[in-house]
Each structure stands twice: as structure tokens, then as C-alpha cells.
Amino acid sequence: MAVTHLDRPSLEYWHAFDYCAGQASQSKRPMTLLASSQFYARHFEDRLLESDLSIVDTTNWSQDTQSNVIPLVNWQPQAGVWIWAEPSRGSLHTIANHWRQIAANDSQLLIVTSGWLAKRLPEWQTAPYPTIAPTSTNDLRSALQPEGAHLVAVYGFHGPVSIVYGVAATLLSQRKQLAWSDRFIYAMRKAYTVQGWQAQFAPVQVRILSKTN
């Protein structure tokens, strides 16, 4: 599932994938990718090629592919770092329960989610989409947080300020003001990663949860 020029993700997902790969790699522990689509599996497999990575199919996307992807029903959860990209309604509570039972204290769960603005990204223009039946933030919170987990951080990629700069850059480019357009592009990049209220409006988010007793 090598990633080529044709497969590069949009910048929003790119940030999220690199962040999760970087974080997960620090633990030196086995990694589990809970992937709701081949899109996620492909990009994380390429990033974590040399890691001890198990890929679990959470939505039956892999049934027609010849790969070593584990269907959710056959999965034997193991401790380590989990990347959940991304939760869908059908398997939300199953996976949340597994994590609460299996995860060691202080272990991290990295969750990639697509917000409503993600629908504008190229990945959402044609099927198969990054996920089907995505969960709401409230459902995710209620499934994970009441027992044994707390939210460490939420990062959003391409927050509102960044989006405004990006739109300005596009408009300036259309008016042939390339020098100014480039400046706004880099203002956009600088403001790209957000936390707090801005993260809720970003097209792609990463939530970091930690297991606590």
C-alpha cells in the first residue's frame, strides 16, 4: 500500500497523520491502528512501516482486499498505543470498551476525526470516503471519557483564522497579486494548528486521551 504522488493526503489530514505517527512512535510499544477505511490504513502503514503495527478494519472495508488487515470481529486487542482513525457509530462502543479494559495506565489513545468542514476536502469528493457513519463529538465523549480516560489535548488542523488567510491567498492569487498571495499562504501555515475553541471548527482534529484509574 505504498503512498505515491497520487495518494498524498490534503494538508489537514497530512498534519494529523504525521502528528499521530510521531506521537505513537515515541512509546516504542506495539501499535494498533483502528482504521475505518483503506485511506487511513494506507497512510499510516506507510508512515509506520518499520514499527510493530497491527491494522484493524473497523468497518469491513478490507473484505475485498488481500492484506494482513484484521477484521474487527477477529481482533484480539493488545496493550500499546492505539490510533483510532476514525470512530464510526457501528463500532464506537465496542472499541471504547476494549480500550478501557486493555489499556495500561497512562497509555494514550490518539483519535483522528473529520469535522463538517472536512466534507470540502478532496478525500470526501468521491467514494470510498475516509469513514462512514462518523460519530459526533458528544457520542465520542460519552463513550470514552466517563470511565478511566481523560482528554489530554485536542488539536485542530486548518482552524478558522487559517481558513480566512487561505481564502485571502486564493483571492489575491486570482487577482494576480502573487507576492501578497504567497504572504497569506505562509500566514495560513503559521496559524494552521490550533487548540481550544478554534479546534472544534477545524476540518480535521486529533484528540489525545490518556488512561487513568
Partner: protein
């Protein structure tokens, strides 16, 4: 410091950033940064690293330099994917494959090693086969535009980026030389050179000699980078040497006239020119200027001599104590383009050593090296360098030793790369920045 000492430090630093897969480290660029992914990048860094080692070998005849060039070429051989692409070959866009001009630059490195090995009657077939596979199965199969007769920058458009096409022309000419297959010259390199020349400005005094950064569907984008104009020159000169087409040499000279016109009094160059009085000067390259200097020197045999004293000083004065060069000056001004205030700390991205920029300085220094002084042995095992800089206006401290790179804010590490690891540990939103 003598040139030999400067080179010795560079060699020691490049050794320190190697893993079993190749040369790694974070990347900053005008276009984008790759701070998370720090594993081997099988990209244009190999062009400079391999040629630098081959320069040292040819000038000293010491076997160790040929072995280091071959070791680097082996990284590329091992990193080739089934389809001919190299893993992690996109430099600032890593960790992706199919980077342009990076895979062509890697091919140049492979073919240069092949030539050096053949010259001493050693088997070079694996390096030729690897480069050929990349060129045939990726560039020719996916990027050759048979209608327009040039190489596109990606398979899904009709855009051409002249400096990237020029790097590929260099690889094609080398491949033709080592295989004896003229098809690579006449079917592919020659028309691509013509397409590059067609992107040169000849009718506007402000940008005369500049080369359009790209065109899409025949629409030329008025981005003129002095650095990328210089990157076109080796292919134009080599094309001239082979084809004796005066137009190619003239284009190379005009391109460097444009570069020279955008040199500042301190020996630096502007980043990008859009038209009369429309310049984004910052960030100004430092390590990468090795490519500009090399382009000027390539033209010296053709009655084109420029005083390089100031540009050389600009480069040479920015070598870190442990070997690598500063990447740039004025990254902090990339958005507002105001002149950086004197006495203020440099931007972190300015001082960050990057393999794929420092290789260009390494290549230039070894070009200039006459081979008379011995390259001293440098022990960097216990050396730690500390550089103060700023990140988004806040003071941060960059610390590098043979094992790691750590960036701290108020004594707390916010970035930690253990050399050899594929991913850095980023603990601050401020550095989640592409």
C-alpha cells in the same frame, strides 16, 4: 578555518545524521516544513552528498571517500520501491514517495557513483539499473508528455517546472552516457531542454533571463526564483556541451545574469521576484547558495566570469561550529517581509541544519577544494553545540550533539529528535508547523 577543516566538519556531521536507511533530519523550506518526519530522505540531499564524496575521492584518491559515496548510493538502491520510486523522496513533503526533482537528483547520485566505479573497473550495474528503473518506470511512464514533448511535474496535469525538468535532464544525459542509449538524449532530454528555454523571459527588462517557475496548460506563472534559475544551469551547460546548441549556453548565461542582478550588497540573493518592484526577499538561502555558486563557476570556461567574493563570504560565514550550514536568513520575515532587525535572535528555521540544504554547501566546498591539504580527523562524539534562536517571537535554545537534537523553551524540551529515529517528539503546538 581552512577549507579542509570545514569539509572535515561537514563530513562528521553527515555521518552523525545517518541511520541504516540513510541521511535523516528535519527539513525547512520555502514551500513547507517536515519537522515531524526525521527519517532518511531519499531525495536531492543525495545529489550533493554523493558528489561531495566523489570530489574528495577524485582530489585525494583516498578510498574512504569512494566508499562513502557508494554507501550513500546503496541507501537509494535499498530504498527503491517495486514501481521504481524511492521511499521518502519528497524532502519537505516527506514522508511521501515520488518527489520531484528529488528522485531525478537521486538518479544523478547513483549514476555518478556508477561512473566512478567503472573508472576503476568495478561493477556498477546495480546503480545503473536502479536509476534506469526509476527513469523508465516513473518519469517516462508517468510524467513524459508525448504531446508537448516534456516531462510534467505530476501525472495528472500538463504542468512543467523547468528547474525540476532540468535536474531530470542531467540524469538522462548521465544515463545515456553510461548505457550508450542515445534515446535518452534525443527523445527526452533535448526536447525538455527546449521547453526549459521556452520558459525564459526575453521581453521584459525587469526579469530578463529569469525562468518561469512553472506553467500550466500553457499559462506561465510569474514566479521567478534566482535559486531555481541557477538549478537550471547545469543541465543547460551539459546540454550545450553535448549538442553544441548555442541557444542553451546563451540561456544559461542569461539565467545567471538574472541571478546576479538580484544579489544584495552582502552577497545574499532575493528569494522570489514577481515582477518590477515586486519581490519577497525573505527567507534568503544560505546553505543552498552552494548551487548558485556552482552554477556561476560552471560558466567560467565560457567567458562568463563573476566576482563571487561576497556570495562566498555569505556562505562561508554561516557554518555552524559542528559542521552544517545555516539554512537561511530571515525566515521570520517570510510573511511581513520587513528587514530583520539587527541584534535580534535569528528564526529557528534559519539556523536549523538541514541535510538537503547543507549538501549543496558540501558539494560547493569540495568543488573548491584543491586536494593539497589533508582532511583532518574530527572527533565530534563529545561535541555539543548550543544556538539561541526565536520561534514565533519566543526565545528557544537549539542543542545538537552526536546523538540528538533538542529544542527547548524556558528549559523545557519542546522538540526532541534522537538521531536515527524516523519521527521526532514534538511537545508544542508551535512546532506542529508545515
Amino acid at each position: 578555518m581552512t577549507l579542509a577543516e570545514q569539509i572535515a566538519k561537514l563530513d562528521a556531521w553527515f555521518d552523525s545524521i545517518r541511520s541504516d536507511d540513510g541521511y535523516g533530519g528535519p527539513v525547512v523550506h520555502w514551500w513547507q516544513n517536515s519537522l515531524h518526519y526525521t527519517g532518511a530522505g531519499l531525495d536531492w540531499r543525495y545529489e550533493g552528498i554523493v558528489h561531495a564524496y566523489l570530489n574528495l575521492y577524485s582530489k585525494t584518491r583516498s578510498q574512504q571517500w569512494l566508499e562513502k559515496a557508494q554507501r550513500a548510493a546503496n541507501d537509494l538502491v535499498r530504498g527503491q520501491q517495486d514501481g521504481g520510486n524511492y521511499r521518502f523522496s519528497a524532502f519537505e513533503q516527506n514522508p511521501h514517495a515520488a518527489g520531484t526533482p528529488h528522485e531525478a537528483a537521486a538518479d544523478i547520485a547513483l549514476l555518478a557513483v556508477a561512473k566512478a566505479l567503472r573508472a576503476v573497473s568495478l561493477d556498477a550495474s546495480i546503480y545503473i539499473d536502479t536509476a534506469r528503473k526509476n527513469i523508465e518506470q516513473y518519469y517516462i511512464q508517468y510524467l513524459w508528455n508525448d504531446k508537448e514533448h516534456y516531462f510534467q511535474d505530476n501525472p495528472s496535469g500538463t504542468n512543467i517546472v523547468p528547474n525540476k525538468a532540468a535536474t531530470l535532464v542531467e540524469a538522462l544525459l548521465l544515463l545515456a552516457e553510461v548505457t550508450g542509449d542515445d534515446r535518452f538524449i534525443y527523445q527526452y532530454a533535448k526536447p525538455t531542454l527546449a521547453a526549459i528555454v521556452a520558459h525564459q523571459v526575453t521581453d521584459n527588462p525587469a526579469t530578463d533571463g529569469a525562468i518561469y517557475q512553472l506553467s500550466r496548460n500553457g499559462h506561465f506563472q510569474p514566479w521567478f526564483f534566482p535559486y531555481y534559475a541557477a538549478r537550471c544551469v547545469p543541465a543547460l551547460v551539459q546540454g550545450y556541451q553535448l549538442l553544441h546548441d548555442e541557444q542553451l549556453l546563451k540561456a544559461a548565461k542569461q539565467a545567471m545574469n538574472f541571478v546576479h542582478r538580484h544579489q544584495y550588497g552582502d552577497g545574499s540573493y532575493a528569494q522570489i521576484i514577481y515582477g518590477p518592484n515586486k519581490i519577497n526577499r525573505y527567507p534568503q538561502w544560505i546553505a543552498g547558495n552552494g548551487d548558485i555558486l556552482r552554477a556561476f563557476r560552471l560558466l567560467e570556461p565560457y567567458d562568463y566570469v563573476t566576482d563571487l567574493t561576497l556570495p562566498e563570504q555569505w556562505l562561508f560565514n554561516h557554518q555552524h561550529e559542528h559542521g552544517p550550514f545555516h539554512t537561511a536568513f530571515g525566515f521570520n520575515s517570510q510573511i511581513h517581509q520587513r528587514v530583520p532587525q539587527q541584534g535580534k535572535l535569528p528564526d529557528l528555521r534559519d539556523i536549523l541544519p538541514v541535510a538537503g540544504w547543507t549538501d549543496k554547501a558540501f558539494l560547493y566546498l569540495t568543488d573548491r577544494f584543491d586536494g593539497n591539504d589533508p582532511i583532518p580527523a574530527i572527533d565530534t562524539a563529545h561535541q555539543t553545540i548550543t544556538v539561541e534562536s526565536q520561534l514565533r517571537g519566543r526565545r528557544v535554545v537549539y542543542v545538537e550533539n552526536s546523538d540528538s537534537v533538542v529544542i527547548s523553551f524556558r528549559d523545557k524540551p519542546i522538540y526532541h529528535w534522537i538521531k536515527g529515529e524516523n519521527w521526532a517528539d514534538i511537545r508544542s503546538r508551535q512546532l506542529i508547523w508545515k
